[in-house]
């Protein structure tokens, strides 16, 4: 279901699978890697921005994730899912950034870049998507990331567990609690 959201519709008619694009990129076709960027840029950015809650840092993390993936493209295991791989790289980079933030600040993690757009203000606009986004942003980090990956990848719990390096049961528990909190937050 939501997995389809992670991938932009291709502009050209023939749909090439990710593995073929990776092979082509490794063979020297820069346009193949460009196509990979086009497909996953939004999804990776969304994961970063939801995890970090800072648009500028999310851009940096997204760029770094693609850079790392590009450098390590020859280590990508054939048959694996590229989305899982790039999400894993991005999530680890986000964790490093969050850890750095905690190290340099004794305070709680900073909120979104735009504090005026808090849940209350957004609720007034009566926009379901905005309210849902705000509610997701208010979740604790571990729940927020699980929900974001659930949004990006759909009900592929194994993939989510792989990205987060968590047991499958923990992922399901986090997701259940996250949904409970979301439901509470969205109930008028």
């Amino acid at each position: 279901m939501a997995a389809a959201l992670a991938v932009d519709p291709p502009v050209a008619a023939p749909v090439v699978d990710d593995q073929a694009l990776i092979d082509a990129a490794l063979a020297g076709r820069s346009d193949a890697f460009e196509e990979i960027v086009v497909r996953y840029e939004r999804a990776v950015y969304n994961l970063a921005v939801r995890t970090l809650r800072d648009a500028t840092e999310a851009q940096d993390a997204t760029q770094e994730a693609f850079f790392k993936a590009y450098r390590a493209l020859n280590t990508f295991r054939p048959g694996a899912k590229f989305s899982t791989w790039i999400f894993t790289i991005c999530y680890r980079l986000c964790c490093d950034r969050l850890a750095k933030r905690k190290r340099f600040s004794n305070d709680e993690l900073p909120d979104r870049a735009d504090p005026s757009a808090g849940p209350a203000a957004l609720a007034e606009r009566n926009d379901e998507a905005l309210r849902l986004r705000a509610a997701i942003d208010d979740l604790p980090e571990k729940y927020r990331t699980v929900v974001t990956l659930y949004h990006l990848q759909g009900k592929q719990y194994e993939e989510i567990a792989s990205v987060l390096n968590l047991p499958l049961g923990t992922v399901k528990t986090h997701l259940f609690r996250a949904k409970e909190q979301l439901r509470k937050a969205l109930t008028p």
């Binding site: 960027v37 840029e41 950015y45 969304n46 850079f67 929900v147 949904k179 439901r183």
Partner: protein, 120 residues
């Protein structure tokens, strides 16, 4: 009734939640950092090789310079080598010139690259 049923509305909302657009210019930034990143002037192994040779040369130079009577011995050895190698004759210089120019021409040759992307 399963958990999925409990959260059916929420799942529908999540499925309908559009992804945020990536900021303008992010794609260009990514591509500049990856496929359009300029090739480094030298590869890491070339830098290591040159560094090793330079270190070796410095070490040898230090050994020679700190040896007793280093100056006199250097001049003596150089003189002997020049005489032995016939470096005073015009024919030797001619062949040296031919060798240097051949090396220069070879260094100017270019070969078509088979890979446009190099994974560094």
């Amino acid at each position: 009734m399963t958990h999925d049923d409990d959260f059916a509305d929420l799942d529908r909302m999540l499925a309908a939640l559009p992804l945020e657009d990536a900021p303008v210019g992010l794609r260009a930034r990514i591509l500049t950092a990856t496929v359009y990143r300029p090739e480094p002037a030298m590869k890491p192994w070339e830098i290591w090789l040159i560094g090793t040779f330079v270190a070796l040369a410095v070490w040898l130079g230090w050994l020679v310079a700190t040896a007793p009577y280093a100056g006199e011995r250097f001049v003596d050895t150089a003189n002997r080598l020049i005489e032995m190698g016939g470096l005073t004759s015009v024919t030797t210089f001619l062949w040296l010139a031919v060798g240097v120019s051949a090396a220069w021409w070879v260094s100017q040759l270019t070969f078509p690259s088979t890979r446009r992307i190099r994974i560094r």
